[in-house]
Symmetry: C2
DNA sequence: AGATGTGAACACTTTCACAGCC
DNA sequence: GGCTGTGAAAGTGTTCACATCT
């Protein structure tokens, strides 16, 4: 047996559901766009549409954060941006290292979405000596040998793994040993980590396979319909939302 | 009353839960690895460990597919590989187009995980004329002008969008108009699609933000613990699994 | 009037625990 | 004996619908 803890501590006030946490970044993005257009307030209906969820869900989500809206009016955009940023921990600076500077690593290094939030790419690391010293996205690539020192010198607690599958677990172990406690894994492998370390996984091939499943089903239903069958559950409601899994989604959250 | 008219058509045999579908690719990957090592059978316990889930969940998942195991023995690896592949629709060939050949698009084009399953990159498409004709991963890049023709000539039903956010909706509209019914979106935007079209979203920045949330919480709990508080819900069980949301996760499934 | 915030109903997912078969 | 397959229980997430407040 693993977690010997009894029930579930409840924790009321701080207990923001995982599904809600997974949607906060979506709301934040929509709100940031409104903020840039200098929109002062939004209703749950409008914001929900912009974020691609339904308004009841959005209101419920916000209710876990507190009562930040005004009845009859809506939400103050700037205020909400601040509250959500704070809740997500984006008001502080998160130095991040990216390990594995292939096409994907380079794409991540260049990705603007990182810097625009509290994330700062503190270092790029690769095992290929030929890359060492070369700059990608204006940041010099450093060699894997120095991984531990880089982590410690920069106080890095979040690591991104974009190496081939074969190297991922080894890199992961070193990151964890050096003090990293959150890992975003792009390698198609299950990572084993000790308790207290979070892993989130992004897997391109898995997403495509899920699409293929639904695609196949559509084709089947089409054929059935054409053949005169009522196609009862045919368009069986497909999900909206944003997790694809809290573990979701689409990406998945792995154990701690 | 005869033919299940009442509630939810039930569809018994075909009703595979979304959460289960999201995990099938994980099982498939673990099984493929076993198959390559010529392992003939596995128990739910072993396979679950390899896939990073717990065994009860795995057995439940498989129970939706049918009774493919042998009590007292386990599952036949080859047979399961076949059954899951078939269920996911991977026994057929899925031509895919990738639109937006920047670093990310190139990374996707080079990604081995596609070809290894039923996916075939039928074409790479980019709006930059300077790229047209250049080969990436051995596949020539074609110009956006020819998008519709490419889709139709190749019978493409799955499209991958790796363009900047600003271009994503427009590309999406053209893909859908040309006949694409499943889209994997890497651009940080909410895509609007008509009924019957599936969108899955992979968002790098969202995943990092979710990690930051947990990371912040850990830091807080640490401080609290150091200050002598029991830190009750501290290690509040973190999720395992694979969706990160079906929607989830992770990535998310959008409406149809 | 108009929109938020939320209890309660509903739906989906996970886990338990054991009957059933090899 | 060992391991699968599955009802039933528990837990999580979503939706409804309306009381509540501006």
């Amino acid at each position: 047996m693993a977690t010997g803890r009894t029930h579930r501590p409840a924790t009321r006030s701080r207990g923001i559901p995982e599904a809600t946490v997974a949607r906060l970044p979506l709301y934040l993005r929509a709100l940031t766009a409104l903020s840039e257009r200098s929109v002062p307030t939004v209703s749950s209906e409008e914001l929900a549409a912009a974020a691609g969820v339904n308004s009841a869900k959005l209101r419920k989500d916000f209710s876990y954060l507190g009562s930040y809206g005004t009845r009859g009016v809506g939400y103050d955009v700037e205020y909400l941006v601040y509250q959500i940023s704070r809740e997500l921990g984006l008001t502080q600076d998160w130095p991040v290292v990216i390990v594995g500077i292939g096409n994907l690593g380079a794409a991540l290094a260049n990705y603007g979405g990182f810097a625009s939030r509290g994330f700062r790419v503190a270092a790029l690391i690769d095992a290929d000596p030929a890359l060492t010293g070369k700059a990608v996205a204006g940041i010099p690539v450093q060699h894997t040998d120095d991984l531990e020192k880089i982590i410690q010198d920069n106080g890095v607690s979040i690591g991104v793994i974009a190496t081939p599958a074969g190297a991922a677990q080894q890199v992961c172990d070193r990151l964890v040993a050096a003090g990293v406690t959150s890992i975003l894994n792009f390698a198609p492998t299950v990572l084993n980590v000790p308790d207290g370390v979070d892993v989130r996984k992004v897997d391109l091939s898995i997403e495509l396979q899920i699409l293929a499943f639904h695609e196949q089903r559509k084709a089947g239903e089409e054929a059935a319909a054409a053949a005169g069958r009522p196609a009862a559950a045919a368009a069986a409601v497909r999900k909206q939302s944003a997790d694809q899994g809290p573990d979701g989604d689409v990406p998945a959250v792995m154990p701690a």
